[in-house]
């Protein structure tokens, strides 16, 4: 535990990537495989189920520190993080801290707590606090409350393990895809020189696009590029192996039984096939706004009603594995033509065999033809079946033509265009150069800062999470939360403003004198009955502070609604 805490401190303290990798590889070289597996588990953002409510921990800390609650609150206010505050105020017993490996701490001390009574929990936790040093105590509380977070990406952790084990980082990344349980056996397999990688359900690491900055003509000749609409859905790989289907989200979440429409069709794909594409809501041939999709994902049960209201379609754009062969090194143009054959074959197979139990997923013949009309005539595409679509690539002889096409994105219910280099392989992660997302300009709104909340992790001592309001008559109504987009210096300035202009405090939230106007950007804005303002926004971010604007010149709900009207007409 002390060793893991030392790693935490090292990662927490340095700003240099090289230092972080050095600390990680030293750690993974030092510790036993089971502890390494748990460390990897926590560092890559996994959590234990919360063992004890944080309110109780707070109360126990107040008791053992023998201070009054208000004084604890003052400490918390100065520190900005509960686990850290507890670790700083609880008394330590003299002498060397007692230690054990990370796996012992997790499996023998943390996890068994759940079976104990509250008073037994209290006694054991207080003993642990006393025997750990301050940083280890902090880590321990964070693990207890399921709030452990360090500023490292999984990629960085993988590079550390690669350094320590000599196994290629890309191989590790692939072996880490999907579900795994931390154990010595798992870690040993992970760093084994040849671990027989054919784990059935494993997807490939996703290839992600970078936003295009500058003009597309910087990319060279347009004929070297494939252009597609960029759909706003759930990026997913669909795997058909060993007569089973697995659907993985980009967040490496296995989305089993969530898309019965897709799973029932996928059985007609031959074994050893992996597709990449975007899952979208689509009804009567029309792409539904993402909010509908969120409703479907958010609903606990897939009721008949939701299946009818928000049917999905899988817009396929890449073929990563075919007949059990990894195609990722092949050029995009080759993968694409192979994909077209796969989809055509799927259509034929599907037409030949239509078992009864699938009837519930079918629309009428009319709907089908309508779908195909739209798919071919508008967005353009070949329909393998209603639920698997292969949207056509966009034909353009010049960048100017593409620019013109892109300006129609909103009409196509697309976010913009994707540009993919025709001779590029399917890469891992977000390398620059081959895939670009070329989104249309976002909506922008001038809004007033009205509430602020402390940040998390790195920024726990600063007010970084803001709520913005717009005018409804002469009242400012909250309509969006945003936290990204400001520089550290700007954040510090706004933090100071917030502390000096607080009207009221509600726990971690402060209401702020309305005075600062910010320009916010959104990927999308929709009418919503679930939001107080009647408006739902997607991906809000702060573009800049409008120091030139008094709050009276901030936007109003009416102007935003008008903007929506303009967009949908």
């Amino acid at each position: 535990m002390q060793r893991f805490a030392r790693l935490f401190a090292q990662l927490d303290q340095t700003n240099k990537t090289s230092e972080k990798i050095r600390a990680l590889s030293e750690y993974f070289r030092d510790v036993d495989p089971a502890s390494a597996a748990w460390a990897l588990y926590f560092l890559s953002g996994h959590k234990l189920q919360r063992v004890v409510p944080s309110g109780l921990l707070r109360q126990w800390a107040i008791e053992v520190a023998d201070i009054q609650q208000w004084l604890f609150d003052e400490c918390y206010e100065a520190v900005g993080d509960l686990a850290e505050t507890i670790s700083l105020i609880v008394p330590r017993s003299e002498g060397r801290p007692v230690d054990g490996t990370l796996v012992q701490w997790v499996e023998q001390r943390l996890m068994p707590l759940r079976q104990l009574t509250v008073s037994e929990q209290r006694q054991r936790i207080l003993t642990s606090w006393q025997t750990l040093d301050q940083v280890a105590c902090l880590v321990f509380v964070k693990l207890l409350t399921g709030s452990f977070r360090v500023g490292v990406s999984q990629k960085l952790v993988v590079r550390g393990i690669a350094n320590a084990s000599g196994i290629d980082a890309e191989v590790l990344a692939h072996r880490l895809m999907g579900n795994w349980q931390p154990s010595a056996a798992f870690y040993q397999a992970l760093v084994h020189p040849d671990a027989g990688d054919a784990m059935l359900s494993r997807p490939y690491p996703f290839f992600l696009a970078n936003p295009l900055e500058g003009t597309p003509s910087d990319l060279g000749d347009v004929s070297l590029w494939q252009a597609e609409w960029k759909w706003d859905g759930i990026r997913a790989q669909l795997i058909r192996r060993g007569a089973q289907t697995f659907i993985w989200s980009r967040g490496e979440e296995l989305m089993q039984d969530r898309f019965p429409e897709l799973e029932s069709l996928a059985q007609y794909l031959p074994d050893g096939t992996i597709l990449d594409g975007e899952i979208i809501g689509r009804r009567d041939g029309i792409i539904l706004p993402f909010a509908h999709m969120q409703r479907r994902i958010g609903s606990k049960q897939l009721t008949r009603k939701i299946l009818q209201e928000v049917p999905v379609a899988y817009l396929v754009f890449d073929l990563l594995e075919w007949q059990g062969n990894d195609l990722r090194a092949e050029p995009l143009s080759t993968r694409r033509s192979q994909l077209e054959q796969v989809m055509a074959e799927l259509s034929r197979t599907r037409a030949a065999i239509q078992p009864d139990h699938e009837k519930q997923w079918q629309l009428s013949e009319h709907d089908l033809s309508d779908t195909q009309d739209r798919a071919q005539g508008r967005a353009g595409g070949t329909s393998a079946t209603m639920h698997f679509l292969l949207p056509d690539t966009l034909k353009a002889g010049s960048w100017e033509e593409l620019i013109a096409l892109r300006s129609r994105s909103r009409d196509e219910h697309a976010e913009g265009l994707m540009l993919k280099r025709l001779n590029s392989p399917y890469r891992v992660g977000r390398p620059r150069g081959d895939w670009w997302k070329w989104k249309i300009e976002p909506y922008t709104v001038d809004a007033v800062l009205i509430y602020a909340q402390r940040g998390h992790g790195k920024r726990a001592s600063l007010y970084t999470d803001y709520t913005f309001g717009v005018w409804d008559g002469d009242v400012l109504v909250p309509f969006a939360k945003a936290y990204s987009g400001l520089t550290d210096q700007e954040i510090a300035q706004v933090d100071r403003f917030i502390r000096q202009h607080t009207l009221e405090r509600f726990g971690p939230v402060r209401s702020v004198q309305p005075e600062l106007v910010f320009e916010l950007a959104f990927e999308n804005i929709q009418l919503s009955s679930r939001h107080k303002s009647g408006i739902a926004v997607r991906f809000p971010r702060i573009l800049r502070q409008r120091e030139d604007k008094p709050i009276s010149q901030a936007d109003s709900l009416a102007t935003i609604r008008a903007m929506l009207g303009a967009a949908s007409s």
Partner: protein
């Protein structure tokens, strides 16, 4: 009539017609120590402890008229009996004991109870009214023994040497820098310092404080290999082009504020060493109770929190205003934010 009163220029003793650490020019100033928020130039005459004479003269300039007294030496200033007692904060730092008609009041200035090779240890002084600082007046502030911290500093330096990176250690120019220099294991490698630190070291040596050999960064050839060196510099050096010359460098800061991760990260240093020249929470409580004082005036830091705690423990306690940045605006962020306190303005 209390011995001391709050005035726009600071704490004033009417019986002796003098001020303690005034923040405006006055006729007579008793000064606790040479930090700029306590010792300000422009007064007609000063009284301070002899052991820090050269440092205070450096702060106030060669023409300042300063009378120096030994610790414990008592003198009458009109109707007030005044003596200075070690505060353990930095070389020459003093508590001011004032006695008028059998009533005793002690102004602590800044102080700490932990050992420090550059100064005489803090000495508890019995009194009726104790005026204490509260820079780190929250229970979350708790210091390790300085020996333990210095072991960490030594280990960090050695580790950097092994990796071929220079070790840049940031600490306040006057006080912290010399404490670090006097405590670090000088056998590990060559020690360098920023020009401002070097001038202060000269004054320290004139006060008889033993320091290791310190070389000037400025006098070093441009293509010098810094990888074995320890460089001590003021915090304001961070983020300046001055750092470029060192090549691969690990940065660290020594300060009580380093106990809180968020504050440390905002300083953007690779390492934070928790080493302070002020009392931590438990030493603050200990020092207060050892004075035997019934009335506690709290200044300079987390005043309200300390006052409220003392009141629940049965003391008569109140806050005393300082010109300490931010406090006048009721701005807790500034008080707890070392970014607001640059090195020329050491609290």
């Amino acid at each position: 009539m209390p011995i001391l009163q709050e005035t726009p220029s600071g704490l004033y003793c009417e019986a002796g017609d003098f001020f303690v650490d005034p923040w405006r020019p006055v006729r007579r100033a008793v000064v606790t120590h040479a930090h700029s928020d306590h010792a300000r130039s422009g007064c007609e005459s000063y009284l301070a402890a002899r052991s820090g004479a050269a440092i205070l003269q450096m702060r106030l300039g060669p023409h300042a008229r300063i009378s120096f007294v030994e610790y414990g030496q008592s003198l009458m200033i009109r109707a007030a009996r005044v003596s200075l007692h070690p505060a353990g904060h930095m070389t020459g730092s003093a508590q001011v004991r004032i006695e008028v008609d059998g009533e005793v009041c002690v102004v602590s200035g800044d102080y700490k109870l932990q050992p420090d090779p550059t100064c005489t240890p803090f000495e508890p002084v019995r009194c009726h009214t104790f005026i204490t600082e509260s820079t780190f007046g929250l229970p979350l502030y708790r210091w390790e023994h300085p020996q333990v911290v210095m072991q960490e500093v030594n280990a960090w330096w050695l580790d950097n040497q092994r990796r071929g990176a220079a070790s840049l250690l940031l600490g306040y120019t006057v006080g912290k820098a010399q404490r670090l220099l006097a405590s670090v294991d000088a056998s590990i490698g060559p020690i360098y310092a920023h020009g401002a630190v070097i001038s202060a070291c000269r004054a320290y040596r004139a006060c008889g404080v033993a320091l290791p050999e310190i070389r000037s960064v400025m006098d070093t050839p441009t293509k010098f290999d810094w990888s074995q060196a320890l460089i001590v510099a003021p915090p304001s050096a961070m983020g300046t082009t001055w750092l470029r010359r060192f090549g691969d460098v690990s940065t660290a800061m020594a300060s009580g504020w380093m106990r809180v991760r968020g504050i440390r990260r905002r300083r953007a240093v690779d390492r934070g060493f928790v080493l302070s020249d002020h009392v931590d929470w438990s030493d603050l409580m200990k020092a207060i109770s050892e004075t035997g004082a019934e009335h506690i005036w709290v200044t300079h830091g987390y005043t309200q929190q300390v006052v409220r705690t003392l009141q629940t423990r049965g003391f008569s306690a109140r806050t005393v205003a300082t010109q300490f940045k931010g406090e006048a605006a009721g701005e807790e962020a500034e008080v707890s934010d070392p970014a607001a306190v640059d090195d020329t303005n050491e609290p």
